[in-house]
């Protein structure tokens, strides 16, 4: 019973704006620091250490940014939808703020995945775009992000806006398994699953490692950028409160 009580206490503490602001502020430099280290190592092992691919030559190296960006586009959406559900069920203001802060970050990763994929497609498959299942559903994901941001900005009251957006985000979750399984369910120009299969991934270790390192780096970056946006929003909403005034006096 004790452990549940302490987890519950931590959960409630985290939801308090000054506490979250302080804790996220403490973690932020370390998160970004580790991100930079991983980024440098990922870039080095991807661009220099990894060998030339037998089939694709050097162009395959775009994979080290394209795939992590695509993974992030889906991961961020799930975070957005889950925090949206939390915001709807428990009416937590912090969950609402986290949810809406995810949207621009997720949209930018989706955009990055689409464009790097397009750039990769030109030399490899001689096309900037193809309307297959995976590319179409990823484009749809970008539209969903835009819809979320548009709806949030259209509603004046922020709490009502958050609740409306949470519903939209949850409805859009159906797109995520479509994106993920699209290469298994349909014949697509896009490559089939190589990493997330359950047996041994069919990608060479020297290419897998930079890929995973970049993926982790991007995840840390997401958390860092998210913290920055959430902290700003907390400051803006609570600017009349004592803790903000006290904080700003010391700056």
């Amino acid at each position: 019973m004790d452990i549940f009580a302490s987890i519950s206490r931590l959960y409630h503490q985290l939801a308090s704006p000054p506490y979250f602001y302080r804790i996220s502020g403490l973690w932020l430099p370390y998160i970004m620091g580790i991100f930079v280290v991983l980024l440098i190592y990922g870039l080095y092992s991807g661009l220099i250490l990894a060998p030339t691919d037998y089939e694709q030559g050097e162009a395959y190296r775009i994979i080290f940014v394209h795939v992590p960006a695509a993974w992030m586009s889906m991961f961020v959406y799930m975070v957005m939808a889950v925090t949206g559900a939390i915001a709807l069920i428990w009416r937590l203001k912090l969950a609402e703020i986290v949810m809406i802060s995810c949207a621009p970050i997720g949209a930018s990763f989706t955009f990055l995945a689409l464009v790097t994929g397009s750039i990769w497609g030109k030399p490899m498959w001689n096309t900037w775009w193809v309307w297959d299942a995976r590319l179409t559903s990823e484009l749809l994901l970008l539209f969903l992000y835009f819809g979320v941001m548009a709806l949030y900005n259209a509603i004046e009251d922020r709490r009502t806006a958050a609740r409306a957006v949470a519903i939209l985000a949850i409805v859009g979750v159906v797109n995520i398994p479509i994106i993920h399984y699209s290469v298994e369910w349909w014949n697509t120009l896009h490559q089939g699953p190589t990493v997330t299969k359950f047996d041994k991934p069919s990608i060479h270790l020297s290419m897998l490692i930079p890929l995973l390192v970049m993926a982790v780096a991007f995840k840390l970056f997401f958390i860092g950028s998210l913290f920055m946006r959430v902290r700003n929003e907390l400051l803006a909403r609570e600017q009349k409160s004592k803790w903000v005034t006290a904080l700003l006096e010391s700056k």
């Binding site: 749809l140 009251d157 409306a164 519903i167 479509i178």
Partner: protein, 222 residues
Amino acid sequence: MFNAWLQIFQRDLLIAFRRRSEIIHPLIFFVMVISFFPLAIGDDKVLLQKIAPAILWVTALLATMLSLDNLFRSDFEDGSLEQMTLLKTPLSFLVTAKVAAHWFITGLPLILITPLLAVLLYLPSESISMLLLTLLLGTPTLSLIGAVGIALTVGLRQGGVILSLLILPLYIPVLIFATLAMQNVEQGFSAEAQIAMMMAILVLAITLSPFAIAAALKVSLN
């Protein structure tokens, strides 16, 4: 409980029949836009035949989207929507009555007039029956998904523009499967898989969207 459902269903149908424009306008839109294509392309039978399934589906989709505003707006403005949320019967159950009525008013007339338009576009009769099947499975799905969108935006000023941004992405899978089914039939293959997927999407929409619609309405009524 079913009494309330039936009453709402009948009330919406009655209102629509009294205000015929609700039924006629989307139909006129549908007919006119379809006519634009042979006018714009010229009487190219081969080309028109090829694009007929696609433009019929896209235009039906757009006509449905335009008609969604009627679903909740007048009830929202005169307060009957709020009254519905106060009833003992769950709102998610009651909204299905409104969406069902909406399909009768919008989707069904679209399906009934499609054969005429298909003939205007030189579509062969085997394709017409597949087109009707896809519309039969697809338009209820469009009404259900569209209802989620209009429920979210009914209280907004610029609601119409945002509505399209919200639900057009969600309409894309329905459009893709419908037109894939048509292409398969045209090439002589079986469209079983696509029809099965459209049925699956319809069932998913029927079971899940009422909750989303009800939640969205409660948010809009704030």
